[in-house]
Symmetry: C2
Subunit: 140 residues, 2 copies
């Protein structure tokens, strides 16, 4: 039930981009230094985020990365799904796919995992980057 370092790094880096939004592209090295992340590892993360159209890149000198859209349009869930895959506590309740295991029908555990998945999704899809940078404390 843990987010991987990759997911955490991704969210932190996206928050930095959100803080820098409208100030032009920000080079990966600057973000990596600020957040104490290996810049080469962050490159790989940004590659995935770019392919998912959450950020866009500007090449060449004075280039860097920018959010692909406004901070309030990007939810934490969007970032997590790109970097960690579909949200689901167990594989048999993967979001999107209606795939089920052979024991469906008499599977007594499925209900809990679905409920858990839905609550996790609710939280992650409710909070945007804008929310994170505009409030010091997200109401519990």
């Amino acid at each position: 039930m843990k987010l991987s370092a990759k997911g955490q790094y991704g969210v932190r880096a996206m928050v930095v981009l959100a803080l820098n939004y409208r100030a032009g592209p920000m080079p990966i090295k600057e973000i990596a230094a600020r957040e104490n992340i290996s810049s080469q590892y962050l490159e790989q993360i940004f590659l995935e985020l770019r392919r998912a159209d959450l950020i866009s890149s500007v090449r060449g000198a004075r280039g860097g990365y920018i959010l692909a859209r406004d901070p309030q349009e990007i939810k934490i869930g969007d970032i997590v799904r790109v970097l960690e895959g579909p949200i689901a506590p167990v594989d048999c309740v993967l979001e999107g796919s209606e795939e089920v295991c052979e024991r469906t029908g008499d599977c007594l555990t499925r209900g809990v995992w679905e409920k858990l998945r839905d609550r996790i999704t609710e939280v992650l899809d409710d909070i945007s980057l804008e929310d994170m940078i505009s409030t010091r404390k997200v109401s519990g």
Copy 2:
């Protein structure tokens, strides 16, 4: 954000014990066969669950395992914590410990993870084994 196989196996095995509650001890091999789990791996899992006082064992011929208390007294969260450790999407918001990272105060991501941890905890601590075996569908 996935439960490990160990955690899933543990919950499934505990559900079987709940179904068998009051019918005397149930041998590990029977549970393992029924749930398609390696019985030697299940032994390791049961060892942890027993040490955590969630189940108790009866040795000798016709022995086996029984829930240590009533099914409604055992929450899914209890099982998950034993097998997966404290519930937390990221280490800096581990439940119980007030441990914080060096960036506390100006950490913008912390709030989301706390909220997420609390929602996960709510779900897992709300559902008991009794709930799982008495309802086919847990209301979403």
